[in-house]
């Protein structure tokens, strides 16, 4: 290893990148349901990151609210409206 990192540091580098990738997916995907799932994945990764940053309280809250309820509300809204994003 050039950078000489231990496991925790690698996780601190990899997880934020994954979070950003998931958020980019959430914005880019045309299918809104898929975007909602991407938001859920982002929330789950975020909650993992919170756990690694020594915040288990927030991690539980984020997993319960961010990953579960937010997705449920988003899916309800998508069912009530329209699934696909229109093109320009």
């Amino acid at each position: 290893m050039i950078l000489d990192l231990d496991l925790v540091q690698i996780i601190h580098i990899v997880l934020p990148i994954l979070i950003v990738v998931a958020s980019i997916l959430a914005v880019v995907l045309k299918d809104l349901l898929a975007a909602a799932i991407a938001v859920a994945a982002m929330s789950l990764l975020l909650s993992l990151e919170f756990y690694i940053l020594q915040a288990p309280d927030v991690a539980i809250a984020e997993a319960g609210i961010g990953a579960c309820l937010t997705t449920a509300i988003l899916i309800i809204a998508i069912r009530g409206t329209k699934r696909m994003e229109e093109d320009a």
Partner: protein
């Protein structure tokens, strides 16, 4: 410098969210963008409270050693609940807008009015 990657991720999250709000036309995409901004701010608060080699600020789990800062975690808890409340209200308004206008395109619903 490599240690500041979480902060860069925070900036990236906020900017991606802002991008979704400014450049996307679908209302639900804009709402998702606001959720992303909120996640970014939450991550920022938690990252501020992290101390290297620290344990979670709970005495039950392990004794001794330095602890992560508790106040940002408390603030983040508040912020998460606020986020879900705002999200619910926004999405119920979006459902109503769809019923009235039959579309989710932000350009079509506002319209140019006198």
């Amino acid at each position: 410098m490599i240690y500041n990657i979480p902060y860069i991720a925070v900036a990236a999250l906020i900017l991606i969210g802002l991008y979704a709000v400014v450049f996307k036309r679908n209302l639900i995409k804009m709402v998702i963008g606001i959720t992303l901004i909120e996640s970014g701010v939450n991550l920022f608060l938690i990252t501020l409270g992290y101390r290297e080699g620290s344990i979670a600020p709970i005495y039950t789990s392990s004794p001794g050693g330095i602890m992560a800062l508790p106040v940002p975690q408390a603030l983040t808890l508040t912020s998460i609940v606020i986020g879900v409340a705002v999200l619910a209200l926004m999405l119920s308004l979006v459902i109503h807008i769809y019923r009235h206008y039959g579309t989710l395109d932000a350009r079509k619903i506002g319209g140019n009015e006198e």
